[in-house]
Symmetry: C2
Subunit: 314 residues, 2 copies
C-alpha cells in the first residue's frame, strides 16, 4: 500500500504524519514552529529524516511529502511568497527541504489542502466537484474540480473569503469592504457578539463572559443562543444568514456536488449546520430542475492538515 508524508505547518507547531493510501494516519510527530524561516526549514528537514528513520522507512518507501502552509504559496516553485501567520516573505521552502530529504514535494495553502483532504479521504469522498469553507480566524476557501485542486494563476485563486457580499460593508483585512470573511470568520462573529452585548446589558452572554467583554470568543453567542438568550439568538441568526448567503453564491457559481464546512466554528455541530441547511433549502436557486448541493461538515478533524497535505500526492 502506498505511503505519503503529510506536513501541516502552523504558527505554533508543525505536525508531520505518515499516511497510507486509505487516508489512515499511521504515525505522527509534532515539532515547535521556530521564529524564523531558516530555522523552520532546518528543524523540519531534520525532523523529516528522523521521522522516516523512526518508522523504518527511507525516501524510496514514500510517494513524497505533501505540505499545507498558511499564506500565499506558488505550488509550482514551492515558494511561500507571503504568510502573515508565520511572518514569512519569499521563503524557498521546498528547495530548502530538499537539502535534507530528497523526495517529491507538493505544497499548497492550508485551506486548499483541507478541501482536498475532505474530497480524497473525508466527508466529500466520492464527489468530484466540491467547494469548501474553513471557518477560522479568517475564511479560507478550497475549490476541487474533477477531484483536483483548482488554485488559479500562480496558485493565487480560491480566496473565497475575499468576495464582497455586503457592498460597502464591514472593513476586511484585505483592504476591501464587505467581504465574506468580514461576516463569516470567527473574528467577525466575535465583533458582532460584542456589539450585541453592548446593546443589551441584560444578555446572558455577559455572565458567560464573566462580565468582561475581553473574554468573548467564537463560542459565546452560540452557547447562550442554546440557552435561548434573545440577543445571542439574533447574533447566531445573522451569522447563519451571512454564511448561508455566501454558500448559495458559491452554489450558483460552481454548482458543486457538495459544499463542505470546516474550521473551528463548525465545532458548533448540528446546532449550526441544521440552520444553514434549512436556510439554503428554502431559497434554492432558480427553477425546480437545478440540482441541490449537499452541505456537509468536514470529518477529518484534528489531523485534517496532515491527511489533506498527504492527499496532494494522491
Amino acid at each position: 500500500m502506498k505511503k505519503y508524508i503529510g506536513v501541516d505547518i502552523g504558527g505554533m507547531s508543525i505536525k508531520i504524519g505518515l499516511v497510507n493510501e486509505e487516508g489512515n494516519l499511521l504515525a505522527k510527530t509534532v515539532v515547535k514552529t521556530e521564529s524564523d524561516a531558516e530555522s523552520v526549514i532546518k528543524t523540519l528537514g531534520e525532523s523529516l529524516v528522523r521521522f522516516l528513520k523512526e518508522n523504518g522507512l527511507t525516501e524510496k518507501d514514500i510517494e513524497g511529502v505533501g505540505i499545507g502552509c498558511p499564506g500565499a504559496i506558488t505550488g509550482a516553485t514551492g515558494v511561500v511568497e507571503y504568510s502573515n501567520n508565520l511572518g514569512w516573505k519569499n521563503v524557498r521552502l521546498v528547495d530548502g527541504l530538499k537539502k535534507y530529504l530528497d523526495a517529491q514535494y507538493k505544497i499548497s495553502n492550508d485551506a486548499n489542502v483541507a478541501a482536498l483532504g475532505e474530497v480524497i479521504f473525508g466527508a466529500a469522498k466520492g464527489y468530484s466537484d466540491v467547494v469548501m469553507f474553513t471557518l477560522g480566524t479568517g475564511v479560507g476557501g478550497g475549490i476541487i474540480i474533477d477531484k483536483k485542486l483548482y488554485e488559479g494563476n500562480e496558485s493565487k485563486g480560491a480566496e473565497l473569503g475575499h468576495a464582497v457580499l455586503v457592498l460597502g460593508g464591514e472593513e476586511c483585512t484585505c483592504g476591501r469592504k464587505g467581504c465574506i470573511e468580514a461576516y463569516c470568520s470567527a473574528s467577525a462573529l466575535i465583533r458582532d457578539t460584542k456589539r450585541a452585548m453592548l446593546a443589551d446589558t441584560e444578555s446572558k452572554m455577559w455572565e458567560y463572559a464573566n462580565n468582561d467583554i475581553n473574554n468573548v470568543n467564537g463560542r459565546t453567542a452560540f452557547a447562550m443562543a442554546r440557552e435561548n438568550d434573545e440577543s445571542a439568538m439574533k447574533v447566531v441568526e445573522n451569522y447563519v444568514m451571512y454564511l448561508s448567503e455566501s454558500i448559495m453564491n458559491y452554489c450558483n457559481i460552481f454548482r458543486p456536488e457538495a459544499f463542505v464546512l470546516g474550521g473551528g466554528i463548525c465545532g458548533e455541530g448540528k446546532f449550526l449546520i441544521d440552520k444553514v441547511v434549512a436556510y439554503c433549502e428554502k431559497r434554492h436557486y432558480g427553477y425546480q430542475g437545478t440540482p441541490a448541493v449537499k452541505i456537509i461538515t468536514a470529518t477529518l478533524g484534528n489531523d485534517a492538515g496532515i491527511i489533506g497535505a498527504a492527499a496532494l500526492l494522491v
Copy 2:
C-alpha cells in the same frame, strides 16, 4: 483543415454557420425562430441538412454541430430543461435534431459558449483560465479552466450573475436580493437611469429620451455622461463600481489569467472599459505578489454565438 457547424439559437432567429479550425466563418445562414419547440427542431434540422448541401458538404466533412442556446441545459443529455427566452421546458433538442442530421452534437448555454469562443478563437486566445461576463438583459457567465468549459453539476453552474453583491439589495429575477445581475445588467442600468432622471428633471438625459422615460435604454446614461451631464455621470460611475467590484470578486475566487467582458453594454467601448480597469487596478487584492488579471473586451462580435458554438467541438 477541420470544419465545424456552429448554431446560435436566439429568441428571434437562429444563426447557422460553417467555421474552420482557425475560427473563420466560411458561410452563414439565418432562419426565423418558430414559436414552439417542435417547429424549431424541424426548421433547424432541415436547415442544417440544406446548409451542408449548399456548401457541398456531407456530415462526414464536419467534426460535428455545436449549439449555443439560452436557458438551463444539460450538455450530457442534450436537453434544454428550461428557457425563459424561448418559452421551452424539457425539450430534447439534440435527440430531435439527430433525426434530421446524424452528427456529433455538443450543446451549452449561450453565455458559456460565448466565453469558450473568446478563449479558443477570440480576445482571450492563448489563455487557459478565463472568466467572462456577458452584459445583456441579464448577466451571463462563463468559466474556462484549462481551456475547457466548467459547467458544474448537470451543467447548472457558472451562474455568475446570481451571486449576491449587495446583501438585501435590489430584487433579482432569480428570487434572491442584491445579485450581480440586479446591478450590472442592462435592465438594472435602465432602472438606475430612470431613477436618476426622476430625481433630476434638468438632466440632459430627458432630452436624449425625447422627454419620455419609456424611451430610456442601456445607452441613455452613457451617451449623456459623455456630454458631462452630472446625473448621467453618476449613473455611469455607480455602474462601473458595481461591475468592477463584481469582477474583483471573481478575480479573487478564480485568479484567472484574463477576465473578458462581452454583451451589448460593452458597445460603450473604451469609455466603459478604461474606467473598469482603473477601478480594479487601484484596488488590487492583497499583497504585491498577486498576479494581475487582464481585463479585456470580447472581440468575436456579432457572430460570437456561431463561432463560440463551433468551439464546443474543438
